[in-house]
């Protein structure tokens, strides 16, 4: 009977995450069997490893550039790279990625030039890349606000009959914002092909998860929307590839949205401007260092003989090249062009903006004596 939902069967089984996060390779690099998810192919894992080492290098190079004053600020994802690599790797070229300020590694894995990505943090412009070139939205700063956008892109794709899946990233803290709620609900009601991927790195700046939520896990938030929730070891690239890959496949097949929570850790402070010693112990960081996603996958691949010294060396070379390109690209200081201030506010600048632009041009003209 329409208008009476009291008998609605609570199909809970499919919504509630399992008790333990999915893990396919343990911290020592040993494969662990799993009922639902199979280990990805060696090829996929090698690709992930390449992206992981590159991402680590990009993170650390960017942090170094901040120390040298060549970047204003950098929110490093050191320790979380497996999440970001997997999020990008499971997508096709036609899919969309919606990243946050911390997801540089996902963007680099998707193929974006780190120099373009870091334009934001260098302070040259708000977004340095063309979002359509790789189907990557601008990195979102206002927390959770990108999630409804992701739903919109996905819903539009469905209306147009396109097989696009959208991967929408956010942090543990961002799950508390109203926009998280509204986005998950819209996605569920419209069965939009979105994978909501929460990198639970245990902190929102200084606020630990226990002060952020009293839920059994963040993945449990899916239940209230009718969205399946899944927990995954966020430092296990293999598990991430398997879980996110399955979620993307399900979404593409019309199965609707999923919520994936990765348990990981932010090894560095929130940004270089943050002082993490005010709110957490070194011991805690140390314990997580032992679960490092790069060494874990390396141990596995080496143990299986999949990662040859040649391959490892090639990966390191590529990381070197990218880091060098970052150093070069970010030391060039383009002459700031004030015309840019007015050129993109509207398709056609309003008369008001034209007048203001003329004013600035006049000031500059006087300065340079034109």
């Amino acid at each position: 009977m329409l208008g009476d939902d009291s008998a609605m069967p609570p199909d809970l089984g499919s919504l509630v995450p399992a008790d333990a996060p999915v893990m396919l390779i343990d911290p020592r690099g040993e494969a662990v069997p799993h009922d639902t998810y199979a280990l990805p192919s060696g090829e996929a894992l090698l690709a992930a490893y390449g992206a992981l080492t590159l991402s680590r290098r990009v993170n650390d190079q960017a942090s170094a550039l901040v120390r040298q004053g060549r970047l204003a600020v950098y929110p490093s994802s050191h320790g979380q790279e497996a999440c970001q690599v997997a999020a990008a790797q499971v997508l096709t070229a036609d899919d969309w990625l919606f990243p946050t300020y911390r997801d540089t590694a996902a963007l680099v894995t998707r193929g974006l030039d780190p120099v373009e990505v870091l334009v934001l943090l260098k302070g040259d412009w708000h977004c340095g890349y063309d979002p359509y070139a790789h189907k990557v939205a601008p990195q979102a700063t206002p927390l959770a606000t990108q999630l409804p956008h992701a739903v919109g892109v996905a819903h539009a794709a469905r209306l147009k009959g396109e097989p696009t899946v959208v991967m929408a990233l956010c942090g543990d803290g961002a799950t508390s914002e109203g926009d998280f709620h509204e986005a998950l609900n819209f996605a569920a009601v419209f069965r939009a092909p979105v994978v909501f991927f929460v990198q639970n790195n245990q902190y929102a700046i200084s606020v630990p998860l226990a002060r952020q939520s009293a839920a059994p896990s963040l993945a449990h938030k899916g239940v209230g929307y009718g969205v399946p929730g899944i927990r995954v070891d966020g430092n296990d690239a293999a598990a991430l590839l398997a879980v996110l890959g399955a979620a993307v496949a399900r979404a593409r097949d019309g199965g609707g949205p999923q919520l994936v929570e990765a348990h990981t850790y932010r090894i560095q402070a929130h940004t270089n401007a943050d002082d993490a010693s005010r709110y957490r112990d070194d011991d805690e960081v140390g314990a997580w260092l032992e679960r490092d996603p790069v060494t874990r996958l390396e141990a596995y691949l080496t143990g299986r003989g999949l990662l040859t010294p040649e391959r490892a060396a090639a990966g390191a070379r590529r990381a070197d090249e990218v880091a060098a390109a970052m150093r070069a690209g970010l030391s060039r200081d383009a002459e700031p062009d004030p015309d840019q201030l007015f050129a993109h506010v509207y398709a056609t600048p309003t008369p008001q903006l034209v007048a203001q632009a003329a004013l600035i041009a006049d000031e500059l003209g006087r300065e340079t004596g034109d």
Binding site: P131, G152, A156, N185, H344
Partner: protein, 329 residues
């Protein structure tokens, strides 16, 4: 051989949506109760029946979600037209509007554009309870990156909404809800007016009344009354608040040397402040008296029984005109 029909403003808006949807398959309409119900003001009446659920649909009840989803759909090739049910119920979407809708083109240097319209039934005068009568134009007009439009007649409502939907930039489209039922002849094929063109609604020589949206009919009423007393008032209708038509407004004010700005919104730090400021900056030496404002009071929108005291009425406008230092000229 123009196609002219007698329509209320509500009907004209409905026609604009229908015609835009028929002309362009990427136009989609969504929001709260806009589907089978046709919206609480029936502006979207019949759209779901005519164009199907994919083109006009109800959403869950969440305004930030609605505007945020529109951003995403616009990013992916659609032209969303969303409805906020009443003015104050657009506030939950404020962050989406200010931090994304207004900034996406600029953020991406023109690579991502957001051709979307946020329709907001706005303003008072219908005896609505709290939160149903806000004049929120100043919030939007102060936010660079948005176009802000407020029609004052059925014909303009049709033309400006078509223009808004055609625009490649986001438009906050403010519909004066007390004018929804006012009827006039609308030329449906008159072509789409450009944004940023104010219009002189009534010629006059003694002073200029500057108004927009719901205040235009009030200004015209005041001008008609003044005429009976032998005073000739000119009435300018802004039509679009952003962009602002300095040329038309300043030319008008210079021609009379006196002006009154009229707006329902509270006056402090508002669109009416801006009009006074910018017109004075430009026309200072043509002014015989300082420009006066007749606006809503600086109070929360009052309950129905008291709204008449708050809203600019013809009498208050005429008082302000009387104050324009006539003795000195």
């Amino acid at each position: 051989m123009t196609d002219v029909e007698k329509l209320t403003m509500g009907q004209a808006l409905n026609r604009a949506l229908r015609d835009a949807m028929a002309a362009d398959g990427s136009v989609v309409v969504f929001g709260e109760d806009v589907g089978p119900l046709g919206g609480v003001f029936r502006i979207t009446d019949g759209l779901t029946a005519e164009f199907g659920e994919a083109r006009c649909f109800d959403t869950p009840l969440a305004e930030a979600g609605i505007v945020g989803m529109a951003v995403g759909m616009a990013m992916n090739g659609m032209r969303p037209v969303v409805e906020m049910q009443f003015d104050a119920f657009a506030y939950p979407a404020f962050e989406q509007v200010v931090s994304h809708v207004a900034k996406m083109r600029n953020r991406t240097r023109g690579r991502v554009t957001l051709p979307m319209v946020i329709r907001i039934p706005y303003g008072g005068g219908i005896g609505g309870v709290e939160h149903h009568c806000d004049s929120s134009e100043s919030y939007y007009a102060h936010t660079p990156g948005l176009h802000v439009v407020a029609p004052s007649s059925a014909a303009d409502a049709y033309g400006l909404l078509r223009a808004a939907i055609d625009s490649s930039d986001p438009v906050v489209f403010l519909e004066p809800k007390k004018l929804y039922w006012s009827r006039e002849e609308v030329a449906l094929d008159a072509g789409v007016p450009g944004f940023g063109t104010a219009v002189v609604r009534r010629e006059g020589t003694d002073a200029t009344l500057i108004a927009y949206g719901p205040s235009v009919p009030v200004a015209l009423e005041a001008a008609a009354l003044a005429a009976q007393e032998g005073r000739s008032l000119q009435v300018v209708d802004l039509r679009t608040i952003v962009p602002f038509d300095d040329d038309t407004v300043c030319e008008a004010v210079r021609s009379t040397g006196r002006a009154v700005v009229i707006s329902e919104a509270s006056g402090f730090a508002s669109v009416s402040s801006e009009i006074v400021a910018r017109v004075t900056e430009r026309c200072f030496h043509s002014l015989a008296a300082p420009i006066r404002r007749v606006t809503g009071l600086d109070i929360p929108y009052p309950p129905p029984k008291l709204e008449a005291f708050h809203l600019p009425g013809a009498d208050r406008i005429l008082d302000a005109v009387d104050d324009l230092q006539w003795e000195e000229s």
